[in-house]
């Protein structure tokens, strides 16, 4: 299966390598660098490369390239999913997964990689199991270790999770404050036409949890309107049969942060679009152009739209822009030609507007199409699909936990064609 892994930073430095089978020289990465040099930006590197004897499967995350080497047929999604899971685990361990954190905790990183795969096949990928095998770094412990000269970062016994039929939960969890928080997050993916009509709008929803409950709690989460959810994927802890028959989420949760479920509400349903953008972008002969954009709230259900950011990738022919926003700040990157306008909160009485002139490179000709505008925003305390949690019950433990549910709607890939 997975033969080796190379972690490469943005400057092309292979700063970590791990081999689960025999050693493969890091010169194999040259094939990757070749593909990298062909691509205009890191996202454009094909995820799967073929070399004479090996296949390179790579992902790009947090400015790092994770390049897995395989030698034989293997489902590519298997490897890609694994690489992303590795990143997720690093993020969970170190708070972030970038070059400096990985270098700082290289011993743990290496031990983790060693534990995750055996002979290239996943052995332990559950974060709760891993955390028992290899303790995450912790400031307090580092101090005691230094003082006492003992290291306790390696567990001595097999985590019970590995053998039980609920590998995601460890036993003997104890908290003084028992809490369970649920975040219902919905992202709107939309393409809006030049005329303001919606070409496509979909909702991608997640329920992320932070569970700090002692013992072995068995939770059930019910929704007021579960019919909304027809395309869902679950964390393995959710009992699928219960969901199919009763539309309740019944599960023994992992300890800590995890994504309980994600759901997709397709374009067949009506999706309320919370804002629209009035735009007037024109290029004129004679190396100049006009730019005038106004952001207006639309169906916000009485909630305010916050953290609005408007991004405009201008065509290459644009030299510079001179704009005046009515609120917020804007910046223009002359290399990538990206204009970013941080609007902030939309005040319904005074609609945010930005206008000004565009200067084109001389002799470059007029761009034939206007750039597509990407908008980001968030609306708290609202799930745009209308999904609502009804109640959360706990069985199997005696104490009363503190429960909380938070809703958030934000823009996913929200694009306006102009």
């Amino acid at each position: 299966m997975i033969h080796s892994l190379f972690i490469i930073n943005n400057t092309g430095d292979v700063f970590m390598e791990k081999h689960w089978r025999s050693v493969i020289n890091k010169s194999i990465c040259d094939y990757f660098f070749e593909a990298q040099s062909k691509a205009t930006n890191p996202e454009d590197i094909p995820p799967i490369l073929s070399t004479p004897h090996h296949y390179l499967i790579n992902i790009y995350r947090n400015n790092l390239h994770f390049v897995a080497v395989v030698t034989t047929e293997v489902p590519p999604l298997f490897v890609l999913e694994f690489l992303h899971r590795v990143c997720d685990i690093f993020e969970d361990y170190f708070g972030d997964c970038n070059e400096s954190t990985l270098k700082e905790h290289y011993v743990i990183v290496f031990e983790l990689l060693d534990e995750m795969l055996d002979n290239g096949f996943p052995l332990a990928m559950e974060i709760n199991v891993l955390k028992e095998l290899i303790k995450p770094p912790n400031f307090l412990r580092t101090i005691t270790d230094t003082v006492t000269g003992k290291s306790t970062s390696v567990g001595a016994t097999l985590p019970t999770g590995q053998l039980s039929n609920i590998p995601w939960r460890r036993t003997g969890v104890k908290y003084t404050n028992n809490e369970a928080y649920f975040d219902v997050i919905e992202e709107i993916d939309a393409i809006i036409d030049k005329n303001g009509t919606t070409v496509i709008a979909e909702i991608q929803g997640y329920i992320d949890c932070l569970i700090k409950l002692s013992g072995m709690p068995d939770l059930t989460l019910t929704f007021i309107n579960p019919r909304l959810l027809d395309d869902v994927s679950f964390h393995p802890c959710v009992r699928f049969k219960r969901w199919e028959s009763e539309k309740i989420l019944s599960f023994v949760p992992p300890d800590g942060h995890f994504r309980l479920m994600s759901y997709h509400i397709g374009s067949n349903n009506m999706v309320a679009i919370p804002l629209y953008v009035k735009h007037n972008i024109s290029f004129r002969e004679g190396s100049s152009g006009r730019f005038d954009v106004t952001v207006c709230p639309k169906q916000t259900m009485g909630k305010s739209v916050e953290n609005v950011v408007v991004e405009v990738p201008f065509p290459k022919a644009v030299l510079n822009v001179t704009l005046t926003p009515s609120q917020g700040k804007y910046s223009f990157d002359p290399v990538s030609k990206m204009m970013t306008w941080e609007v902030g909160k939309i005040d319904t009485s005074k609609l945010p507007n930005i206008k000004g002139s565009i200067s084109l490179q001389t002799g470059a000709g007029i761009p034939e199409s206007n750039p597509a505008i990407t908008v980001m925003f968030s609306i708290s305390q609202m799930a745009v699909s209308g999904l609502k949690v009804n109640r959360l019950d706990m069985y199997g433990e005696k104490y009363k936990p503190f429960k909380g549910v938070k809703y958030l709607t934000r823009a996913g890939k929200f694009q306006i064609r102009t």
């Binding site: 050693v23 799967i48 590995q162 994927s233 397709g266």
Partner: protein, 1075 residues
């Protein structure tokens, strides 16, 4: 040790004294560093730290060493210093040493051998994590010398109590195979056992090992097929992926094509026009649900096992792991009836929201699926709309899919969408869009004109790439229907002046040449212009100019002959030899010299032959032959190790190969009400949850590990139950022959069956007296009986072959062989037993209830009483052990806690596998546990100590010689041969008086079988009864024959082990005389 410290040590693995990093980077050549360079002392301080006796220093040094390993720097010269620390007590040091060892052992084989004994010791450690990690490292060191040691370790680990260790063993199998491919046969044997493992933890890894060492041995899956299907949901997600992939291949070899009825129809239908009707049909069928379709298509009936796989895989579409979803999708694509494939579309669409790398793979698979089944994705058309922020490769894939999905009904929306793409600032994407428009135009005739107009419009685009691409596409379109488009050809001819992109120019020239008759005035003029600029043209254009000149010369020699001659002469002196060659060749054709060329007569036919229009088809159409979701598919090339997906067989192979015999369930645990109940239900239920001997193993292990989560279990049960009841239903649906099988199963303990409501039917059948059963079956008669017996014969054949292979004989439980099933195999008559009086070679079916012995009396045990009996099944712990069932009863006042085995004192060579600890035994409760003892073929007792809480009781278990045997199948001929060999000293015999009652066939057989765990061998002589067995530990053959002559029975025992022979004879004598 602060964070900075770590970083520092990662950055400078080398002490500051080192000069430059160049040498360290050359890690390919181990000799390059250390010996010949000046800084051979550079790791001196690390060595000192490793040699110190302070753990903290060692750990610090190891961390730095691992830092070097992680960075890919050469640290091999530290090997001797590091390997010493393999014995360290500190776990983290140990772990890091392991990491280092696996990296460098291959390079320093001799030194690596020093560490092996440490691992061997660790393999026996009571801590399963340590056993497992020792096995991991041992199997990872890649030193060929230790291959035999690895083999032994693996063989041992496969039998380990802990499923985690067994999982590690599964991983070790391909490692050893990679190191020494010669071990393959041995490994397959080991693997066979692992495949039979019933724990979810092991299943995935075992299948992965199977895929790596012997994917061609599909027969190994048969017995495990139903188990794998049923476990699928509970296996960890990575295992699910490999299991589904293997089962897909399995399904393609073992079942028949569910779409066979429609195949012809499907293929005849033109590819692009099919969708409309097909969709409606598909939607309707989907609505009706799965059940209907079997009835609807009368000639095809899906194998219940095929259905089982599809049904068990379906919930996995909701997995969070995209690889699992994709695996299920490809299973449905390749193996499901057409009407059901649509269900996977929604889940695949959901994956499109994940990381862009995953999107890329999913989209390329969807692209292939859309070439075959466009109706499936049509409702999700909009999900494939391109966003300007997508990376190029994703844009292109989406475009491909949109084009594949285009139909008359949706073409207008798609074209509108395409229009916005054409103006994209990404020129590659715009060009691809134009090609896509061309494909839509060529396949959907309604829009051809609209598309053509649009494309012509694009020719006046400012961007040259766009223009060029449209010209090329128009050329292709016109070629399909040239007659109607004179205007466009004229228009294009005029554009020659403006367009500079060579490909576009060449296309226009070709078009004019081909259709010069339609533009007779313009064509010569175009040639004239190009003759002028010939020298400055690109090669590809020059070739087309030559073509144009030739064609015009043929059609319009009056105006063009001279021009043609001129162009050909120019080409004759061109720098490019292709062009020179072409010129020479054409000249012979159109301007034949004095001697004339034969071909010139046919010039018109050659050059102006009608040419077929190009077919604009999806690039993904040819990927169809690769299995979806594979690396080969994404790369569109065969990768190493790719397994071709086999074609469906014409006729389904025998389905009975998947039938599995149930072993008797000796183990009964009333203390674990719900979970075990559910589990048992599952087992009883049958064919699905097959059980090899590892059955008890599994449940006992599960229990021990789950003791802590009892609470959880209670709630989890509802799931398990609903699941199993569903399975129950389906098992009832199964064909009759299988029901018959089940009724022949060994009688179960009655408590079990009474627990199971849904199972009443089968349970009743099972409770029937064996006799009745046989008689009933004989009554059924006819083809069915014949069929059943055929199936059974096959089954038993399997057993036979397994038996000969030694260890795998574990699959045969003696219970099974005593039942009529065995009789059926060994004798030709399907009836067997009593229904066939005086059947010459028939074998009697006799059930012997194992005798219970007191192990601990309740008085001497302070209330705890223990009895034991030999189950006469193959022990789950080791084939060399006798399986012993202990029944513990608490007769005391209070509950007893932590009952387990303490000290074990046995003779050398003997082994005891203790039973799992019993946490509590309530007052008056009774529980049964299994343990195994390898008596090493002696009747010496094993002295054990039973601990209950603080109390300890000494007990002895001894086995009569009959219990040291295991049944052995052999034919009558073999029996005679073996008996001949074992004459003389090895033979013991005695004559016993028998009366009418004890002289019956049945009584004699019962006596012998009570005395020893033997198996009756068919005999041609009515009055001679033959029995065979092997001893458990050494596998020595033991043969017993009883010859009855009026009132006397002569018992002969032949065995290599004389002691055993004598003792067995005495035992038989005793039993017979008692009667």
């Amino acid at each position: 040790m602060s964070g900075n410290g770590f970083q520092q040590s990662y950055a400078n693995e080398k002490p500051p004294s080192s000069t430059g990093s160049a040498e360290a980077d050359i890690n390919t050549d181990p000799a390059s560093s250390g010996f010949f360079t000046t800084d051979f002392k550079k790791h001196e301080d690390l060595k000192q730290m490793l040699d110190s006796n302070k753990d903290a220093l060692k750990l610090e040094a190891m961390k730095r060493v691992v830092g070097m390993v992680a960075k890919g720097k050469d640290a091999s010269e530290l090997f001797p210093a590091v390997v010493k620390n393999v014995v360290s007590k500190n776990l983290e040091i140990k772990k890091l040493v392991y990491v280092y060892l696996t990296r460098y052992a291959e390079e320093q084989q001799d030194l690596a051998l020093l560490s092996i004994s440490t691992f061997q010791r660790a393999l026996k450690d009571p801590n399963q994590l340590i056993r497992a990690s020792a096995l991991r490292v041992l199997s990872s060191v890649r030193v060929i010398v230790i291959a035999p040691i690895m083999m032994l370790a693996i063989k041992e680990a496969v039998m380990d109590m802990s499923p985690y260790v067994r999982k590690t063993a599964a991983h070790a199998i391909p490692k050893l195979y990679g190191l020494d491919p010669e071990t393959k046969d041995q490994l397959i044997e080991v693997l066979e056992r692992l495949l039979g493992d019933k724990t979810t933890l092991v299943a995935g890894s075992a299948i992965q090992a199977f895929e790596e060492i012997c994917p061609e041995r599909i027969d190994l899956i048969h017995k495990n097929y139903r188990k794998l299907c049923n476990l699928l949901v509970d296996v960890e997600e990575w295992g699910q992926v490999v299991i589904i992939n293997t089962l897909t291949r399995y399904a393609r070899t073992q079942f028949i094509n569910p779409n066979s009825g429609e195949m012809a129809e499907e293929e005849e239908r033109p590819f692009y026009e099919s969708s409309g009707k097909e969709d409606e049909g598909e939607e309707e069928e989907e609505g009706k649900g799965e059940g209907d379709q079997e009835t609807k298509k009368a000639p095809y009936i899906m194998d219940p096992d095929h259905r089982l796989l599809l049904r068990q895989a379906k919930p996995l579409l909701n997995s969070r792991n995209s690889a699992v979803v994709m695996a299920v999708a490809q299973l449905y694509h390749h193996c499901a009836p057409k009407a059901e494939v649509g269900t996977v579309a929604k889940s695949l669409i959901r994956l499109l929201r994940s990381h862009q790398e995953l999107q890329y793979v999913v989209l390329s698979n969807v692209a292939t699926m859309t070439t075959k089944r466009k109706g499936m994705f049509e409702p999700y058309l909009k999900s494939f709309y391109v966003r300007s922020s997508d990376p190029l490769h994703i844009k292109l894939l989406k475009l491909e899919i949109l084009t594949n999905l285009a139909t008359e009904t949706n073409i207008s929306t798609i074209l509108r969408e395409f229009q916005t793409y054409v103006t994209s600032s990404d020129k590659d994407f715009a060009a691809a869009t134009i090609q896509a428009i061309g494909r839509c135009a060529s396949t959907i005739s309604e829009v051809t004109d609209t598309c053509l107009n649009g494309l012509v419009h694009l020719m006046s685009n400012r961007d040259e790439a766009v223009v060029a691409e449209s010209v090329v596409v128009i050329k292709k379109l016109l070629q399909m229907r040239p007659s109607e488009h004179k205007a466009i050809i004229c228009h294009m001819a005029r554009m020659v002046d403006k367009i500079t992109v060579p490909m576009a120019r060449a296309s226009i020239l070709w078009l004019i040449g081909e259709y010069s008759e339609r533009v007779p005035k313009i064509a010569p003029d175009v040639l004239r212009k190009l003759a002028k600029s010939f020298v400055n043209e690109e090669d590809i254009v020059k070739l087309q100019v030559l073509n144009l000149a030739t064609k015009l010369c043929i059609t319009n020699p009056k105006q063009c002959k001279l021009l043609c001659q001129y162009v050909l002469s120019l080409a004759k002196y061109d720098q490019n030899y292709d062009i020179r060659d072409r010129s020479r060749f054409l000249r012979q054709m159109v301007l034949p010299g004095d001697n004339g060329c034969v071909f010139s007569k046919y010039a018109k036919k050659i050059f102006l032959a009608p040419k077929p229009a190009p077919v604009l088809a999806s690039k993904f159409k040819d990927r169809d032959h690769f299995q979806l979701g594979t690396l080969s598919h994404v790369l569109n090339m065969r990768t190493t190790g790719y397994q071709e997906l086999p074609e469906w067989p014409e006729e389904a192979p025998d389905t009975a190969v998947r039938n599995v015999e149930l072993p008797p369930i000796w183990e009964d645990k009333p203390t674990k009400p719900s979970k075990t109940g559910a589990k048992k239900k599952h087992d009883l239920k049958s064919f699905y949850s097959e059980s090899e001997s590892s059955e008890e193993d599994d449940s006992s292990e599960d229990d021990s590990s789950e003791d802590d989560d009892d609470e959880e279990k209670g709630s989890g049960d509802s799931d398990a139950e609903s699941g199993s009841s569903k399975a129950a239903k389906s098992s009832e649906e199964e064909s009759e022959e299988e029901e018959e099988d089940s009724s022949e199963e060994e009688e179960e303990e009655e408590e079990d069956s009474s627990e199971v409501d849904s199972e009443v039917e089968i349970a009743v059948a099972r409770k029937k007296d064996t006799k009745k059963e046989v008689a009933g079956k004989a009554a059924k008669g006819g083809t069915k009986a014949a069929k059943a017996s055929a199936d059974l014969l096959l089954d038993l054949d399997d057993f036979g072959s397994m038996d000969t292979s030694g260890t795998s004989s574990a699959a045969v439980t003696p219970g099974n062989l005593l039942t009529p099933t065995a009789a059926l195999d060994l004798g030709p008559s399907p009836g067997g037993g009593d229904s066939k009086p005086a059947a010459s070679s028939a074998v009697l079916s006799i059930n012997v209830t194992p005798k219970s012995y007191d192990l601990l009396h309740r008085i001497s045990g302070n209330g705890l009483s223990i009895t034991y009996k030999f189950t006469r099944t193959i022990s789950v712990f080791s084939p060399n052990m006798a399986s012993i069932e202990l029944t513990l009863t608490n007769n005391s006042e209070g509950p007893l806690n932590n009952i387990k085995l303490g000290d074990i004192k046995v003779q050398p060579g003997m082994e005891v596998q203790p039973f799992p600890e019993i946490a509590t035994l309530a007052v008056n409760a009774t529980t049964s546990v299994l343990m195994g003892v390898n008596f090493n073929d002696t009747t010496q007792p094993a002295s054990l100590e039973v601990c209950a809480g603080e109390q300890k009781f000494k007990v002895n278990i001894s086995a009569s010689v009959g219990e040291l045997l295991q049944p052995h199948t052999m034919s009558e001929g073999d029996f005679a041969n073996q008996q001949k060999k074992l004459g003389g000293m090895n033979e013991n015999s005695a004559t016993i008086a028998v009366d009418d009652e004890s002289g019956t066939d049945r009584a004699i057989c019962t006596s012998v079988l009570t005395a020893g765990n033997l198996l009756q061998v068919p005999s041609s002589d009515e009055k001679v009864f033959k029995f065979a067995a092997k001893t458990l530990a050494s596998g020595t053959l033991v043969l017993v024959s009883v010859k009855v002559t009026d009132k006397k029975a002569r018992v002969t025992v032949n065995s290599d082990k004389m002691v055993i022979g004598t003792m067995l004879l005495k035992d038989i004598q005793k039993v017979m005389e008692k009667k």
